[in-house]
């Protein structure tokens, strides 16, 4: 297992999230800002659609040759004086990182934002080993102060309001004047900058994630806006990169293709502020840079997704667009998903990585409106894969009896019309996408339980058919 999951309690988590007035206030920003910014960036680039296809094809090619590209990448890192460590599991990845830090006598370890770091629970492992991990991305720093996990893959603290951050800073930064003014976001940022600057300069090891590992040159790439990742990796004795196997990308040109869709999809920028290519440790004559350069490449269940109907999920570049456009995410935020990866990508990935037993509820967190697939820069068929999971879960008899008959999922929304409202707003759009199906759900083969809630949009698709057939099959078997 990796970091603790509460994904099993998804329904309870979701219900609680919808009653949380502060969370609902914070989520407003997701609904408005991200969507508008992405749209205007996309509108500015006529080649955006063609680039999506190009990016998808590059990843498909890479995944089909993943073993060979990983070998090549490893050889190139070694040539540049770096070290590659493969890790089958989260445990192995943690042990590798802790060993490197111990050998260097590290006391403080700064961290750039890394979803793999979250996935393997690296902070806890470092703390247990007597070291102090310091998150340096502003959002990550805030949630570290609160002892939380990120609620969004690119905006970790998007579930919080300014006044909550102010309260956290007053609680954590006791050495500062208690009467200081923190009423503006700029003041909060300035305070974090000041506090973290000392940590950057004192750190012994810096850990970052990676958006790409380039096979051609043995290079890791991070894409950020704050500059914290660069200070994290440049100042300490050693730089450790945490990445997963599917981050490998063949060439510099291939990275350019994907970069063009990444920032636009994520934050609506043409290009993020800092795109940093790192190849090996400090070289002779370099006045700065890390003395050691390590890359930990995590599998943690991904290699088993290859060759299955979930292989496409490994194209994901963690841009966050799917959750930014998801009516379920808008309604409940990221924490309700219970593990590291929220939103549609999390609903597909979490069961793959931690199993259906833990994450089996998540693929139900969908209205099948299809927006996530429509905006995904890597053209990942997210709703289709959620359906696959639901079918599997059904077949495995893992869900409670009512759910096996498709009722609980719909009842969940039926009891919460406010969750459904954002979904119906995009219903026309969803209908267009699911034009093959038949309009509204006027009748469903589930009897009276359904007729009271029959004004749903039309997400039945193949899933209900599959379930219905599945039910028959089970009858046949019994």
């Amino acid at each position: 297992m990796t970091v603790h999951s509460t994904a099993k309690a998804f329904k309870r988590n979701a219900a609680r999230a919808m009653q949380d007035e502060k969370l609902q206030r914070a989520l407003m920003h997701v609904r408005t800002n991200f969507i508008a910014k992405r749209q205007s960036a996309v509108d500015r680039l006529p080649e955006f659609e063609a680039l999506r296809e190009s990016a998808r094809d590059i990843k498909n090619h890479t995944l089909a040759h993943l073993d060979l590209y990983l070998e090549r990448y490893e050889a190139k890192v070694t040539q540049a004086g770096g070290h590659v460590h493969f890790a089958r599991t989260a445990e192995e990845a943690r042990a590798t990182v802790v060993d490197i830090c111990r050998r260097l006598g590290a006391k403080t370890v700064t961290k750039g934002k890394s979803m793999i770091g979250e996935e393997i629970g690296i902070n806890e492992a470092l703390e247990k080993a007597g070291m102090k991990p310091v998150e340096t991305d502003l959002g990550e720093y805030i949630i570290q102060l609160r002892g939380e996990i990120p609620s969004h893959i690119i905006a970790p603290a998007v579930h919080l309001n300014r006044d909550q951050v102010e309260a956290d800073f007053r609680r954590a930064h006791v050495e500062l004047d208690p009467k200081r003014d923190l009423s503006e976001p700029t003041q909060l940022l300035a305070e974090a900058r000041q506090v973290l600057r000392e940590r950057f300069l004192a750190a012994d090891v810096g850990i970052t994630g990676a958006n790409f590992l380039i096979a051609e040159t043995g290079t890791s790439v991070i894409v950020t806006n704050e500059g914290n990742g660069d200070l994290t990796q440049t100042l300490p004795k050693a730089h450790i990169v945490l990445a997963s196997i599917e981050k490998v990308t063949p060439t510099l040109e291939d990275v350019c293709q994907i970069l063009r869709v990444l920032a636009r999809s994520a934050t609506g920028q043409d290009m993020s502020v800092y795109t940093t290519f790192s190849t090996g440790p400090r070289r002779p004559g370099d006045p700065d840079g890390p003395g050691e350069y390590h890359v930990v490449i995590l599998d943690n269940g991904r290699s088993a997704m290859l060759g299955t109907q979930f292989q496409d999920m490994l194209r994901c570049i963690r841009c966050g667009a799917c959750m930014n456009h998801c009516p379920v995410y808008h309604a409940i935020g990221g924490h309700a998903y219970g593990w590291v990866y929220p939103g549609p990508m999390g609903a597909v990935l979490t069961p793959s990585l931690i199993g259906l037993g833990e994450g089996g509820n998540l693929p139900n967190a969908s209205t099948f409106c299809g927006r996530c697939e429509a905006v995904c820069p890597m053209k990942i068929p997210l709703p289709g894969m959620m359906r696959h999971w639901r079918e599997r879960e059904f077949e495995r008899h893992l869900s409670p009896a009512t759910q096996r008959y498709g009722l609980a999922f719909w009842a969940f929304f039926a009891k919460r019309p406010w969750l459904y409202r954002p979904a119906t707003r995009v219903a026309m759009w969803g209908l267009a996408l699911f034009g093959r199906s038949k309009g509204t759900l006027s009748s469903l083969p589930f009897g009276a339980g359904w007729t009271t809630h029959r004004d749903f949009p039309t997400p039945q698709g193949p899933t209900f058919q599959a379930r219905w057939h599945g039910r028959d099959k089970r009858r046949d078997l019994s």
């Binding site: 190009s54 070998e71 905006a155 500059g227 088993a304």
Partner: protein, 224 residues
């Protein structure tokens, strides 16, 4: 952890239904790595020299940098002095060993120039870019003693000189120049692509400049 390595590769191969020795797969990978084909390159980035300069300046400003054009390298110190004065900043600059910067007439200004990587105490730094990308208004900085990487991130105010002849239309053209300099399949230790000053929108999605890196980025483009 070589067990882990072999295990991961073995599982990947098993899932893909391959054994890793197939000549056709190997050939395909070698081919892609050696040819490094371009994909889709946006039309707006395929521009001639004059347009490239205009696009670079416009895009850099969109990225919230400030940009000025000076006629020659000798004009850089005066422009730097003007910028520091107009921004109410002390007349100090931290620079690396770049010979192009060393050859500039700094004595003609009152700027106090100090040399080397930054330890975090410098308010202002000046670097020479390897090149720039017009498509996105991006600067390309390479590591080394000429232009230490710390200068790109620690000082509050970063001034960057770029020669207009070093501007590329798009990222791909820039990478070709990098390959010409460092050799095929090789890279500098660090290549920083920088588009505007540091920023964060982590608090209520409000964009604020000056997160952990420079609060201000001033680009001096040298004509010629």
């Amino acid at each position: 952890m070589s067990f882990a390595r072999d295990d991961v590769l073995r599982t990947i191969r098993r899932s893909l239904g391959v054994n890793g020795t197939e000549a056709s797969r190997r050939a395909e990978v070698d081919d892609r790595l050696s040819r490094a084909p371009d994909g889709i390159i946006p039309k707006r980035s395929q521009v001639d020299r004059a347009e490239r300069l205009a696009l670079f300046m416009a895009q850099a400003e969109t990225g919230l940098a400030t940009v000025v054009l000076v006629p020659d390298a000798a004009s850089v110190p005066t422009e730097a002095a003007r910028y520091l004065r107009d921004s109410n900043l002390p007349a100090t600059l931290r620079i690396g060993d770049d010979p192009r910067l060393a050859a500039m007439p700094w004595h003609a200004t009152t700027i106090e120039v100090s040399k080397g990587a930054s330890d975090g105490a410098d308010l202002n730094a000046l670097s020479h870019a390897f090149g720039g990308v017009a498509e996105t208004g991006t600067l390309a900085m390479v590591s080394g003693s000429d232009n230490p990487t710390t200068l790109n991130f620690l000082p509050d105010n970063h001034l960057v000189v770029v020669a207009s002849g070093d501007l590329s239309g798009n990222l791909e053209e820039l990478l070709q120049k990098l390959r010409a300099r460092y050799g095929k399949e090789k890279m500098p230790r660090t290549l920083n692509l920088i588009t505007g000053p540091s920023r964060s929108a982590d608090i209520e999605q409000t964009l604020i400049l000056g997160a952990h890196g420079p609060r201000k980025l001033h680009i001096i483009v040298v004509e010629g």
